[in-house]
Symmetry: C2
DNA sequence: CGCAGAAAGTTAATCGTTTAACTATGAGGT
DNA sequence: ACCTCATAGTTAAACGATTAACTTTCTGCG
């Protein structure tokens, strides 16, 4: 692959002149410019970005740290990041921690967790990325995360424990509120909830939203209407079974994610009831299942792509030296209405 | 961030010596080594990989080109790639073409397609990656893909049109064969097939496997038992409906992917039949739905992680100067047995 | 004692850019 | 004629590592 030196020799000028032609930062006579461009056309010259990075101390590469690339929202978030960065001439260096997403309960063991995250950050820092986006799956109460010296870092999806850090998240609380409101507007008065793992802040926020909607409508929430699942299909089956066995079973079930909603479907059908005629079910996440269940599941779609896009935007702003006025961005979700609910 | 120069000054030696201590390629007296290591400990020294890359003409970065990171097998493949590369000290630069995966029919418009792919390859080449893994979703009949000069390239998931290129794929044909065999062993004699989009080689290979199993067992395949869908849920509903309306309806349906199998579930339940007592259904892909349907769907799991891992391995071999003996690797799939089939 | 050879360092070139500082030339103004 | 200034180009020093080639010192052996 040709270098500037060869182009310079071929055109009978100095490398500096070639550089000037390419950068356009200094004026070059039309004739020399033409000669240089022709030489470039003749060879397979490619600017060596490595040399440029070394000289300029800027790689135009952003490190994206993910806990598990196979985790559901992750590819979409990365997509959003990628799209935004590409437009600004940046590229994405991916670092995958391969942390099992399902270890909700071990989530509290922050010590070894932060160790792994810090190793990932190190790797990106070593690669001399210009900035880092950390796609975190769970809000951090304590931030044991070592902010690499002098590399801007923004959080996507979940929040950093330190409110000074910039984070881009979605509105768990309001989405759960709106979804519950939707059921209430359909005259449901017995609305039960199947929650995700109690350790996760997502579950707690969605619970808050649900409670607020019920309270506002003056509807009672008997404790047996709040069932704690573990985000998995089977806990949906189990908890829905328990709800159906109640003396006063709910007329609507709000499952905190789609697999658990699918579990409700199984339990409900097994008991001979029909969805939505006898009982309404709604989910959360808008996974592929939601549209493949029968009847189609009403659920909430997370703004994953936007989360990634916004996080990337904010990072680029910081790279331009701007300080982010509001470090926490919370994006709204969208309710996807299908056929799993019916008014009473 | 400190440099070798500063470490050298601090330890009273030359940069060369510092380099020797770090690389271990030349002997250094224990005392100087100790002094240098202490200086490093005192500062925040980090090897500048950019400078190293420039000098060594090697970045230790592999470009991964994906058509759509949100496409289902993609994250797992990337995970496999990542895992393998990480062990060898390489990192992943991601390039996402954001080609809509669903444009099956436009798939034949190769001209503009190759343009986009080539732009993606250019971007990676510009970044001076050491090698490229192209995660392609569809086999290429003609390869319009411009192999970037001197950068090793391997295909993952789908095959390159040129048999000389190294590709790592999975065994569509045999998996469909085995799945059909499973149904036949359960004494099903009327086994119908709901195929994916006719344009795709995956659909055609799976069809071949199915046909072979039926032929071997001496079972007739009436033309109306082969239904062409488009990989989507609704075509499953539709085609299963058509099958059930036949004079001699099948006792088992093999859907070429899980969403279409889910469509079968809907059509079958609507018609009042039970799965698996009245009719067996199997799918393909082992998506999340498979375990969230009721009853659980028997399906085939693709070796996505292994595909990525193997592709990365082969690329690293090529980087080490080895030539790959067999450029085409076809990995076996695994049948996941759940509760959607019953012997006759 | 003399010499070979190993051990421990240093010097300086190199990778491919960018860019401040400099030179040379010519145009324009007074 | 002289000064100023803009234009077009060159030179050379960075950026931060690696490494071949060289120097110096020491060890061991005949």
């Amino acid at each position: 692959m040709a270098t500037m030196k060869e182009i310079a020799a071929l055109s009978g000028v100095s490398v500096a002149t070639v550089s000037h032609v390419l950068s356009g930062k200094k004026s070059v006579s039309p004739s020399t410019r033409e000669r240089v461009l022709q030489s470039i056309g003749l060879t397979n010259y490619k600017l060596n970005t490595i040399a440029k990075s070394l000289r300029m101390n800027k790689t135009h590469i952003i490190g994206v740290l993910v806990e598990d690339i196979c985790g559901l929202p992750v590819p979409e978030i990365v997509d959003g990041i990628n799209q935004c960065l590409e437009e600004s001439g940046y590229q994405v260096l991916l670092s995958n921690l391969r942390l099992l997403q399902k270890l909700y309960n071990q989530y509290e063991q922050l010590s070894q967790y932060t160790g792994i995250v810090n190793r990932g950050l190190q790797l990106l820092e070593d690669a001399r990325v210009d900035g880092i986006i950390y796609v975190a799956m769970h809000d951090r109460r304590i931030d044991g995360i070592h902010q690499p010296v002098s590399i801007p870092l923004v959080y996507a999806y979940a929040e950093s424990g330190d409110p000074a850090n910039v984070s881009v998240t979605y509105d768990n609380e309001n989405s759960a509120y709106e979804m519950t409101r939707l059921l209430i507007r359909q005259n449901h008065r017995q609305v039960a909830l199947i929650a995700g793992h109690a350790n996760t802040s997502a579950a707690n926020r969605r619970l808050t939203g649900y409670r607020q909607a019920m309270d506002e409508a003056g509807l009672p929430v008997p404790p047996e209407y709040i069932r704690w699942g573990d985000w998995e299909y089977h806990s949906g089956v189990e908890q829905a079974g328990a709800l159906l066995a109640l003396a006063l079973p709910p007329t609507a079930i709000f499952a905190m994610n789609d697999p658990m909603a699918a579990g409700c479907y199984a339990a409900i059908k097994r008991s001979g009831l029909r969805i939505p005629e006898d009982i309404s079910v709604v989910g959360f996440d808008n996974r592929e299942i939601a549209s493949c269940l029968f009847p189609g599941l009403t659920t909430v779609a997370l703004p994953n792509k936007e989360i990634g896009h916004t996080a990337a935007q904010q990072l680029l702003q910081r790279l331009d030296g701007l300080t982010i006025a509001t470090p926490r961005t919370t994006l709204p979700c969208r309710i996807i209405r299908r056929d799993s609910t019916l008014p009473r």
